[in-house]
């Protein structure tokens, strides 16, 4: 078969194979993470059982930024190589990233309300940066959906991905700076972590990371399949 289609096919196959191998470990990792969060880790002294959200909240949160790095990487690589598979990477990362970010922003307030009696602690750099990240993800999706398929779309999305990625650290630093001037009474995590908690957290982070990567690979395989199908029907 023609060479680009053959490459697409092999790459999609590769992703599917990797994802396949990671499925069983993923399942058990997640079960262990659940066990760690609910049964193994002791109840936190001050916050009580609601603190257990934290294991998933943190596990998911770091992946939002990992996915966004994927968007940045895909964007830069696309602009340099003009190979569509980099756009596939960026787009897949955005989709998975926005879901994960939404989860962080939902579990956050659920955790915050019983503890600090507020749904949304303004002024905390991590929360605000995550919110800005969410806004940038959604803006990216809107840009993507308002452009017709083609090189222009991939180029523009790549540019926006790069701009957004540059913005995130700036937001982080500017909020942290602002906080030194307007100190917020709420301390972010007064929890002391006992060793079992650290173990549970560790497993949870790994489980979520594997989940994130698996989902991105699956989405990329789907995109590769669909672009192959397009090419075959057009040839």
């Amino acid at each position: 078969m023609s060479s680009p289609i053959n490459t697409s096919w092999r790459v999609a196959r590769l992703y599917l194979r990797i994802a396949d191998w990671s499925l069983i470990p993923l399942y058990f990792l997640m079960v262990v993470a659940l066990y760690g969060a609910f049964l193994y880790a002791p109840t936190e002294r001050e916050m009580g059982d609601v603190q257990r959200i934290f294991y998933f909240h943190v596990g998911v949160a770091w992946n939002c930024f990992l996915a966004f790095f994927g968007v940045f990487l895909g964007g830069v690589a696309y602009l340099i190589t003009r190979k569509r598979s980099w756009d596939h990477l960026a787009a897949s990362c955005v989709e998975v990233g926005v879901v994960f970010t939404t989860m962080v922003l939902t579990t956050g307030p659920i955790w915050a309300k019983p503890i600090w009696n507020t749904w949304w602690p303004w002024g905390d750099p991590r929360i605000m940066t995550t919110m800005v990240l969410w806004l940038i993800y959604v803006a990216y999706l809107m840009l993507r959906s308002s452009l017709p398929e083609g090189e222009t779309k991939y180029k523009y999305c790549a540019v926006f991905g790069i701009i957004g990625f540059l913005d995130v650290p700036i937001v982080w630093f500017s909020i942290r700076w602002w906080r030194t001037i307007h100190p917020v009474v709420i301390t972010s995590s007064g929890a002391e972590l006992e060793p079992e908690m650290i173990h549970a957290l560790f497993v949870s982070v790994i489980a979520m990371t594997v989940l994130c990567v698996t989902l991105v690979m699956l989405r990329m395989a789907m995109r590769l399949n669909s672009s192959m199908a397009e090419e075959l029907t057009h040839s």
Binding site: M1, S2, I5, W9, A12, R13, L16, A19, D20, L23, L26, Y27, M30, V31, L34, Y35, F38, L39, D49, T214, L215, L218, A221, M222, N225, M228, A229, L232, S235
Partner: protein
């Protein structure tokens, strides 16, 4: 806590099975595309 644990394991298992289903069907699509492309090549 135990109930929560088992509850979430059930939910996760269901989601996981959906993930497996997606993976399998993408593999099928992939195979079919390969077959299709080979058929097209033979016709050329």
């Amino acid at each position: 806590m135990i109930y929560l644990f088992f509850g979430y394991v059930v939910i996760w298992t269901i989601l996981f099975l959906y993930l497996v289903f997606l993976m399998r069907s993408q593999k099928q699509v992939n195979d079919k595309l390969k077959a299709l492309s080979e058929t097209l090549d033979q016709q050329d």
